[in-house]
Amino acid sequence: MDCKLDKIFYGNFLAVRDSHVPIEKNKITGFIGPSGCGKSTVLRSLNRMNDLVKGFRFEGHVHFLGQDVYGKGVDPVVVRRYIGMVFQQPNPFSMSIFDNVAFGLRLNRYKGDIGDRVKHALQGAALWDEVKDKLKVSGLSLSGGQQQRLCIARAIATEPEVLLLDEPCSALDPIATRRVEELMVELKKDYTIALVTHNMQQAIRVADTTAFFSVDISQGTRTGYLVEMGPTTQIFDNPREQMTSDYITGKFS
């Protein structure tokens, strides 16, 4: 998957410019940077979630499975079937745990054994042992960390090609965070993952490649752009740009 974007607008506001973010298969690509640098915006552009925002305009292209996600005649609904997403706040549906996970399968008219897939997805999300006896209980009754793992299970049940994770651990405690991180590393065998995180330690722990974004305020507005991107070890140990090294050593935010 290769994202090469020139400009993203919200109305007249230039939110992100000139960022080339290749996302490699079976790797975790981490997006880091200060608030307002557009990392979430870029992530949400990958499966056209930003189409839901009024005034959103994308210039550039996102290559995925040999097609441009923003190509003519491509239906965003189809794109989102192949590129799953997990959000910052756990957002399970107000239905049973089982139905939450089965939602995508039913949506895709899955012909096989739904029960099997649900079990598999919950195991994949490291939640099965905790909920196997209460699959009929509402997903909203779970704790925050469990809810987030339920959302991951929901996203992976259909086995999409790519998983987009938008700060999936920001509402979780360190133990749940560690769980989800282990899960991400586990999942990258089968999936391609793009991860937005505020937590640099998290990027070091899980990301193979890291993209550092920053904000350009020179034009009077706040426009995000990609400063540099490379293997995580290189970005953190030997950054090319002064700005990156300032950010990761905490000299500015």
């Binding site: 040999g66 609904v77 999409p160 090609e161």
Partner: protein, 321 residues
């Protein structure tokens, strides 16, 4: 149209694009909702057009004399609806004042943890039942209960405080006050119900934030909950006012039907809706033209109130952002 991603790299993937049928259902749904919108718009336009068409001869003949005239005498060919316009606005505003105070208080009382949840639900249902009572029943109740009940008070106010314009005449039966009181009860359920919805829609975390800052119960309600729900509460008032302007039957029975412009709450008055209801059955062709004209004026007033209300709400919302 839909070019699916044909290469499922992962053989286990259950992902597939929506089927042709799914797309068809989606498009049908979209088309149906669009048709619904168009039909409603068409209906509104047809209504305004038809009334306008029938009112046109009257407008040509009488011009603004109808709106600014205060005498309604069919035999002399004089048709003035100014007293009815006055009565419509006056009665609706008084009703709004009364129902607004009580309706919003009620909504606060029923949503802000003053009552056990079950009891609150019972009260809510009872208030909403008020909306199910037919207008004519309200009218009868007004004649046989409200008017006799308020008479002693109005007589006292008139004799002791008669120098205040609001109390300058005595209540001789039907009049503006009983009409406005009954009208207030009729629009109360609308205001209470919509305000309740607005108050319950305020997120729990907002409420917690208020208590977290150390507010008392009352301060949380007054400084945080009500301002957060202000747009919705204001909307309930606009809805209530709209209903009050157009209410017919109970008013025709209670307002006195006298073409009379007076500040006095106890004087008989008239409203546009009552005028229309009472005069249509026996109207000749000339009068019908004028009545259509009056109907158009009533529609215009209601429309104006709703548009103004929505504009204020939009403005307030923009202020929040």
């Amino acid at each position: 149209m839909n070019t699916p991603f044909v290469v499922p790299v992962n053989p286990d993937s259950a992902c597939q694009p929506p089927s042709a049928k799914d797309f068809l259902v989606d498009r049908t749904f979209r088309a149906l909702s669009r048709i619904g919108v168009v039909l409603i718009l068409a209906l509104v336009f047809a209504l305004v057009f038809e009334v306008g068409r029938k009112a046109l001869p009257g407008m040509e003949k009488h011009g603004f004399d109808v709106i600014f005239g205060s005498v309604w005498d069919v035999n002399q060919g004089k048709y003035g609806i100014l007293p009815a316009i006055w009565g419509t606005l006056y009665s609706a505003l008084i009703a709004l004042l009364i129902a607004g105070v009580f309706g919003v208080s009620m909504a606060i009382f029923l949503t802000q943890d003053f009552l056990p949840a079950k009891l609150a639900a019972v009260f809510r249902t009872i208030v909403e039942l008020l909306a199910a009572i037919p207008s004519v029943v309200y009218g009868l109740w007004g004649i046989y209960v409200v008017i006799p009940a308020i008479r002693p008070l109005t007589a006292w106010l008139n004799s002791e405080l008669g120098w205040i314009p609001f109390f300058s005449t005595s209540l001789s039966g039907p009049g503006l006050l009983p009409a406005a009181l009954v009208l207030a009860i009729m629009i109360l359920p609308t205001i209470a119900a919509v305000s309740q919805d607005a108050l319950t829609a305020v997120p729990m975390k907002t409420k917690q934030a208020a208590y977290g800052m150390g507010t008392t119960h009352w301060e949380a309600i007054l400084k945080v909950m009500v301002p957060s729900a202000a747009t919705g509460i204001f909307g309930s008032l606009v809805l209530g006012l709209g209903r009050a302007l157009g209410e017919t039957m109970a008013l025709a029975m209670l307002v006195g039907n006298a073409n009379n412009i007076s500040l006095s709450l106890f004087a008989p008055a008239n409203t546009l809706a009552a005028l229309l209801a009472l005069n249509f059955p026996e109207a000749g062709p000339n009068e019908i033209e004028v009545l259509m004209y009056a109907a158009l004026v009533l529609m215009f007033i209601t429309l104006l109130v709703n548009v103004l209300g929505s504009m204020i709400m939009l403005y307030a919302q923009r202020g929040h952002k």
